[in-house]
Symmetry: D2
């Protein structure tokens, strides 16, 4: 029996990747919402929201109507939206995250372990992005810093051409350097993360989860 | 109260590094053996062997006489030597390894975790060493392959100038690449690994341990 | 006064990039040919062909009619096609290449210089591409080998996820390593190369040029 | 017939490397000066000074006595010392530099060329050194900045373990990144540069040269 899913925002760049990946994996799309149309065949096991905060209410209406699990990838949710999700999560399973990249989650996990073992080594964070990026350091670099529990660490920010995003964390002891590097090459990675979250959430009864928990359960 | 240690082979390149590092950390050298002399002040808590298989018997004699813990860094031990060590380990704690590099152990640990999480991604191993290295791929690259449980994986071997040793393991998904790189810069790293092993072993009652267990206990 | 250009294949992926870049630089599109329509406002100074061998004859017809300069980026041209181009080049200026990446041309230029100066150092070539690439080593890696005049050089080929293309040439002496790395991040680079070729070719009277000559004239 | 050379400072770390390399290449050491002794067999073709400013006068005395060519690698020379050298260079050939690394010179040469060709691309300089290095950015990074004629360029400085020294210059266009990286692995590289300077200078009649001219003559 095929798994069924609904997709809110199937016409966006991420939504299109999600649709393509779930189809490859033989999941059946039984609810589809985009700017052009709404289509409903049957109640989906899980609803994926790759849309905008403006249509978040529609996502919640569908979820409540069918009691579906939820994977929410929308960015810029209000606190009110998050409260709504947590309320829903008391009876149904929900995964919510602003970043479904698998590699960044794996990087965060292993650098924490490396830091513990290499206690006393130097730590350097560096990130490279396209020239149009305005914030420096990147949000992910700051997330790395927080995850390592560091208040005083050097972060090098490079801006080059249209580089999608590279993050490196290096640990230097006297006699060796150990580095972990993540390089983004396309948005397909986010679709894969969402797929992992969907596989995780359909087997849960209820609860509000981050992507990290879905990935490393 | 200071920790006390004995050092077999204090005049070798590694032995000299060990002596310097233990001194920095205020450990007291109460037994010293090298090509020039033997000096004994008092029974050491732990004996470090950075010497050659030829003098292994001397190491064992001292150990048995004082009931010291052992950290053995000698390479090229015979099976008979190892049996002797295991016998001794029934009553005393022993750490034995052919490679006390902390970074390589950490690399081995995290790449196993990454492989599990990124199931289905491509894996590439590459190593760079000096032009005089005769074996290819390097022993460490083969150790990486074994640790990952891979029978069929591509290993790229580069030979450049007098590079001390670089190993990279890369994991490639559709949309991202995650890499872990270890670069050796000097033999100080091995002294640090031996120091960690000594710290570990003096708190044990008995048992035969590898460096990995000493590092991640 | 604006420069004018014609574009054959304006609806392809590369054609669309070319159109966008030339527009940014205020060149005027006076001839446009694609699968949907043909549009002609006036004779263009230069005609860019980003199309397929199948429509090469149309490109030549337009060129002969207006006496335009030519920049040909079509791959898979027949020897007959190339002869036609060379004939045309006796009276008009033509640039033809299968690869308009600026960075690769620059890499080829500097590695030759480095090789001459570092005579006797070790040389290693490595390349990383997506898992779907069937040939190994890559055509560009072979081009590097030829450019360096090497018959016996190690080429390491890595296949990871959907990496667009990375090439590294390393030179190792006793005491140092010098490396040059080119990484492709998008097809925009080819549009930029074509733009440089167009700027070059409109100032020539006649002649058959490669992209290298257009870039380094 | 063997080439002959003199060596001032044969007991220093660099001096020892120089002696070893020249011996490998069958040059004959006919004048040797160090802290322990002075030894003179015959007038050397070229005198290498790997010593300290304090003994610079002795170097000049030997040079004037035998009319030898000079390769001066001493750092911290006074303006007066340099004037003395330039005066001597009116009649004899002299090479003087504070850095005889071949790779850094080659890097400086090729990045200038790359900058000219990739006009408009982003430029990033980064350098990694051991944790004990106090100045940031490194002198070599500043030399790179000057050589590129840049007043406003981002330099990232990383401090990790006991890394000997890595410098990277990256050029980023829309669609590609081209990087040149130099990594020092031992002081042998400086001995090789001095050897190249000696080979150059013994064929000159007179003149004051930098290492760059000796390398790229």
């Amino acid at each position: 029996l095929k798994h069924t899913y609904g997709l809110i925002g199937s016409d966006g760049r991420l939504g299109a990747e999600v649709k393509s990946l779930f189809t490859e994996n033989c999941w059946q799309l039984t609810l589809e919402v985009n700017k052009e149309f709404e289509r409903l065949d049957s109640a989906p096991q899980v609803i994926i929201d790759c849309s905008l905060p403006e249509v978040f209410n529609k996502t919640m209406e569908f979820a409540e109507q069918y009691g579906s699990a939820l994977v929410v990838a929308t960015t810029g949710l209000s606190n009110e939206n998050l409260e709504q999700l947590k309320l829903y999560a008391q009876k149904h399973p929900v995964v919510q995250s602003y970043n479904y990249s698998i590699g960044i989650q794996v990087l965060l996990k292993v650098i924490k372990e490396i830091k513990e073992i290499t206690n006393g080594w130097d730590i350097e964070i560096s990130e490279t992005h396209h020239r149009f990026k305005k914030d420096r350091p990147s949000g992910t670099a700051l997330m790395i810093k927080d995850e390592l529990g560091l208040t005083d660490v050097n972060i090098s920010s490079l801006r080059l051409g249209n580089v999608a995003g590279v993050h490196t964390v290096s640990f230097g002891g006297l006699g060796e350097v150990l580095s972990v590097t993540h390089e983004a090459t396309s948005r397909r990675t986010f679709a894969e993360g969402i797929f992992k979250a969907a596989q995780f959430v359909i087997n849960k009864k209820s609860g509000f989860y981050g992507f990290k928990e879905a990935l490393f359960n």
